[in-house]
Amino acid sequence: MNSYAKRLMWPVLILVALIVVNIAATGIDFIIPSVNDGRLGGAFVNILRRSAPLMLIALGMTLVIATKGIDLSVGAVYAIGAAIACQMIIGQEDQSAAGLIFSAVALALVVTAVIGAWNGTMVAYFGIQPIVATLILMIAGRGIAQLITGGQIPKVQDSSPFTQLGRGEIFTIPLPIWIAALVFVAIALLTRKTALGLLLESVGGNPEASRLAGIRSKGITVLVYLVCGLCAGLAGLIGAANLGSADANNGGLWIELDAILAVVIGGTALLGGRFYLLGTTIGVVIIGTLEDTIINVGLSSQWQFTAKAIVVFAVALLQSPEFRGWILKPFKPKPEAAAPAPAPAEEVPAK
């Protein structure tokens, strides 16, 4: 088993376990998609559809974390993207005009990309810690979104094609799933079939060494934050389109924490230098499935937070070599006094 498959083994096992629990609780219908009114449905497809915004943000976050960074502002950027598009659409008489929808979406994406680039500039050129640089917008961002919407919750008419972004489908598959899949493929191709992925990992491993090796590490840092902002904006658009409204206060609340959680579950360490897009995808689906599992096994929805806390705790501990060394100690054969060494040693090539 190569190291990549090994990394993915735990997340996949957790996901399979969750799905088995759901099937046991609600029957085999949980996993089997059904077609209603020319549209793919079923519990699991719905989970995927609802997870699309989180998926987009988690993909952007994976790239940022690969460069040893973090982006706390994505939830606020989500709200800003949603606010810009909705506010622009409700400002016009004819909310169905294709040109209007197109320009609203384009404006929201441009603004969120600029916000992302701003974050990246703070990190790369001003040398501010990522957690601090993005904290500024995490605090101010929802205020800016409120400023755009004037403190109201703009509601787009249901007939507007904008809502199709969240509710529509192409070839019976829901549009949000298409968007998430396309972004995944685009990022995967860009990072794995070109040198970009290697450069990203190099910057995450050691920005200064990368710079000396001739990599434009500052430009790459700005680029990943830009992509992350763009992903967050797109996620905001899908979320707003699905609801038909933009809630500046609660739209995408805590999505940054869910995204970081998905990335960490997927095996990407917060220390940077390595990233696993497929792992992140599985992490996102795990989080989405977890939310449904809680309802399906008959617990109240308030258990969601508690369940997430347990998952974060378990993942954090499992990824800690110190913890594994400590917990496995009683199981190691005594005669081999040097036994504790193999566990960390296995980690070294993986890092």
């Binding site: 500024i136 605090i139 929802r142 258990w303």
Partner: protein
């Protein structure tokens, strides 16, 4: 400005030496004065002493969690769980006294002990298992919000329990408010006590020196033989204690527990600490600066309330801008500090 010519000193220890280290806090105090004078110039009754006193009533819980956060940030960590721990503590106070019928003082002690123990546990996980503080305290953020909602998803009132009246019992200074005096409730004095104790601990005890040393460089602190484990776990225990104490103060102030209270309080606390001149990378800062930071946040909200026409979200935008300004200021000072050395 000192004129040592050591060449091999690590850059961080030279960040804020001499008078330079007082620039951020000086800027915060100047900002406070400008805001206050601006308020007096524009609004009637803003010069009442009660406006200042009011800051220490409404923002006493925030002050207490920000003091705890100062310890954690000085040591180079971060604690995202304080808002949830605070909400949970308030809810636990309500639940223990109203539903479980435990006497209120005992309930208070239990809640404080629990918060401290939680801090110890998470500190131990961070130190011994080398889990990043960001992730480890994220557990607390989710766990306690979830537990709070499980105790009750609606408001719980504590009005029937006499004990909770104690916190808002107040002392008048200089007569009635209309005669130019002001009043402060007991809970403000608790917050003051926390600040004083924190100041003494940080500046005059071994533990406090250890916190600064670890924030400056954990490796050096370890090599110097400082008790790194004890100190690192200790700061999270302090933060846990402060968060649960803030929850108790909130119980005194509102006599009710809301399961969705204090969402994002950790961000307010972090912002207050940074605006108060503490470096987010750890190792430099003051607890009295944090008091100034909380006052900036409070005064900002008071100004907006006095204006009446502005929405409260302006406070968040201004806070973000201030945060940006202070972080850039710290960067500039740090860069000039590095240059002077070389």
């Amino acid at each position: 400005m000192t004129t040592e010519t050591l060449t091999e000193r690590p850059a961080r220890s030279t960040l804020f030496d001499g008078l330079t280290k007082y620039i951020p806090i000086g800027a915060t105090v100047a900002l406070l004065i400008v805001m206050y004078l601006g308020g007096i110039a524009n609004f009637k009754n803003f010069d009442s002493a009660q406006v200042i006193a009011g800051l220490f009533i409404d923002y006493a819980p925030l002050l207490v969690i920000a003091v705890g956060m100062t310890f954690v940030i000085l040591s180079g960590g971060i604690d995202l769980s304080v808002g949830s721990v605070m909400a949970f503590s308030t809810m636990a106070c309500a639940w223990l006294t109203v539903d479980a019928g435990i006497s209120a003082p005992l309930a208070m002690v239990l809640v404080l002990a629990f918060g401290t123990l939680w801090g110890l546990l998470i500190g131990a996980v961070i130190h011994y298992f080398n889990v990043q503080p960001f992730i480890a305290t994220l557990v607390g953020l989710f766990l306690f919000r979830g537990l709070t909602l499980q105790i009750s998803d609606t408001d719980v009132s504590m009005r029937e329990v006499d004990f909770w009246q104690w916190g808002m019992t107040h002392v008048e200074f200089g007569g009635k408010v209309r005669d130019g005096g002001f009043w402060l409730p007991y809970l403000s004095f608790v917050a003051f006590a926390v600040v004083i104790v924190a100041f003494v601990i940080l500046h005059y005890t071994r533990f406090g020196r250890g916190v600064y040393a670890i924030g400056g460089s954990e490796q050096s602190a370890l090599l110097m033989g400082l008790p790194v484990a004890r100190t690192k776990i200790g700061v999270y225990a302090v933060s846990g204690f402060c968060a649960s104490l803030a929850g108790v103060l909130a119980a005194f102030a509102t006599k009710s527990a809301n399961p969705l209270a204090n969402v994002g309080a950790e961000l307010d606390a972090i912002a207050a600490v940074v605006i108060g001149g503490t470096l987010l990378t750890g190792g430099a800062g003051f607890v009295l600066g944090t008091v100034a930071g909380v006052m900036v946040w409070g005064l900002l909200n008071t100004l907006i309330a006095f204006h009446g026409g502005l929405s409260s979200w302006w406070a968040r935008i201004v806070m973000g801008v201030l945060l940006l300004a202070f972080i850039l200021l710290q960067r500039v000072l740090a860069r000039s500090g590095e240059k002077r050395r070389t």
